[in-house]
């Protein structure tokens, strides 16, 4: 039955995706309990040790070791924290700001709309990565600044969606009715419009979490982001880049982690979208 509801994506796939996401979240939350080793424990004698199934590898370090002899599996487990934290915080922040801005722009219109739309247009003119790199250069490295740098452009996405939906919604009967009854703008925006536009907002947000995780990895890859020794999947790929020719595992496994998590989020959000799509059952 679920597979009929979710249509194209077989139910088992969507369930698998959700399980994967939960798995990563659990991994992130309980990292100290799950990780076999301390992610910052360096041991130069284990430098670039291959994964367990290759010669010179060992099952105590199943995915091998990085350039400083740290266990890659443990670093991937801890790295989930950075990715998930960044994804959730950036999108939450952006959605909060974006929804408020979008509502204001779409409902109040006039100079408020003009100002917000102008800001959106200007920010859109900047390529994402370049803007983020510029901001990070301005603010310095670190996860807090990374979150801010990403959020500064991210709020545009929910803002545009919300503005569009609000523009449509303000002409509907229930809003007219509320206005006739003398409700204030704020009440209308909050009580009448907001609940009805939440659905697309949530869908967009879930998709954006996936994209933000990739963006964080890209910025960490460029050297901007978390400070050592905190592991981040993106910086792990970057660190392993120098050894890609003969110690491919250092970059490959963190990259796979990114792929897996992002894929799971995308599959899950696709399933959610398909379920919410009124046309789906035709």
């Amino acid at each position: 039955m679920i597979s009929r509801l979710l249509g194209l994506l077989p139910g088992w796939l969507a369930r698998l995706a959700v399980l994967t996401i939960l798995g990563f979240v659990v991994m992130a939350v309980f990292a100290p309990l799950i990780a076999p080793w301390d992610p910052s424990a360096t041991d130069l004698f284990r430098r670039l040790q291959p994964p367990a199934w290759m010669p010179d590898g060992g099952w105590d370090y199943p995915l091998g070791c990085d350039a400083l002899g740290r266990d890659i599996l443990s670093r991937i487990i801890y790295g989930a924290r950075v990715s998930i934290f960044t994804g959730i915080v950036v999108v939450s922040l952006a959605t909060l700001v974006g929804v408020v801005a979008g509502l204001a722009a779409g409902y109040i219109r006039g100079p408020v709309d003009a100002a917000i739309s102008f800001l959106v247009d200007v920010l859109l003119g900047f390529p994402y990565l370049i803007f983020a790199v510029g901001l990070m250069a301005m603010m310095g490295p670190g996860i807090a600044n990374l979150v801010l740098a990403l959020a500064y452009k991210e709020w545009i996405v929910p803002c545009r969606v919300v503005r569009g939906e609000t523009l449509a919604a303000r002409e509907t009967e229930y809003v007219e009715a509320a206005r006739a009854l003398g409700a204030s703008s704020a009440t209308i925006m909050g009580r009448e419009i907001l609940p009805n536009i939440l659905s697309p907002v949530i869908v967009v947000a879930t998709v954006r979490i996936a994209q933000v995780i990739i963006l964080e990895a890209s910025l960490s890859f460029l050297g901007l982001g978390v400070q050592p020794p905190t592991p981040s999947w993106g910086s792990m790929v970057a660190d392993g880049r120098a050894f890609i020719l003969d110690a491919w595992w250092v970059s490959t496994f963190p990259g796979l982690a990114i792929l897996l998590l992002v894929l799971a989020i995308n599959v899950a959000s696709q399933a959610v979208r398909d379920a919410l799509d009124p046309h789906f059952h035709d």
Partner: protein
Amino acid sequence: MKPILLLQRLLHLIPVLFGVTVIVFLMMSLTPGDPAEIMLANQNASPEAVVSLRHDMGLDRTLSARFVSFATNAMVGDFGVSLFHRRPVAAVIAERLPATIELSIAALLLALLVAIPLGVVAAVHRGGVVDRLATVGALFGVSLPGFWFGILLLIGFAVQLRWLPVSGAIDFASQPPHVTGFLIIDSVISLRLDSLANTLAHLLLPAVTLGLPMAAILMRVTRASMLDVLRQDYIVFAEAKGLTRRRILALHALKNALLPTVTVAAIETGSLLGGNMVVETVFGWPGLGRLVVESIFVRNYPLVQAAVLLYAVTYVLVNFLADLLYTVLNPRVRM
């Protein structure tokens, strides 16, 4: 479409450009780090040398003086001198621009060539094999981190298999005579098949890495809008009239279905320009993206300012073109 509205849209560009310039200027000036010091770093230079270099770079003027100077010069096309190359910024950017444009367009074309047919087939034979594969493929496409994927492609195809070159835009021996600066165009104009083949070989991996996420998005958009269109009343009506499915598709459905594809393609072109940087670095592609991020790191203000302005103009113009295309494809839409 009324020309007045056209003009209005173009005029809207100006305050946006101004806003972009102000923001870039503010960001650069609030960024700690001094280009003169960076240029002389690790070169055992004396503090006096740094001071005199700063003066030479014009950085000891006040912020507002620099902004006014930049803005007024920019309006006549003079974007100042690159602090590191010590040559006019416009020349430095112009040298690297064709490579980036070629890569972006190649990625865009690749994406469209893959996405549109796949999206159409997937929609028409909904639930079939192609549809399932395409959807899964699309999910992978948007989930792959580009920097990681690019490196893997490089190692696989260029190093292990040696099918494709490792880096650069073209081998010296295969260079076509310089006409436009665009290798593909020059190769075709001078009828040099070997140049064309060599360029395409160099272009393939970076274009695939850059274009894959875009192809994924465009395929889904095309599929969704195609599904939408196929459900429309006028399609059903045409079917009832007895037109063959093929003709229906070709005449009515496709044109309308492509509208969202065009719009999204325009928006995503913006991300193409920004995504260039990582791909250009991994594949050693001599383009602008890599230059811009390097310039941010060394605080080469004039170049960053000019490049960002260029990106903004390109983005707005491309969106504008997309809107134009929109009206051409669907005359029912009023501007």
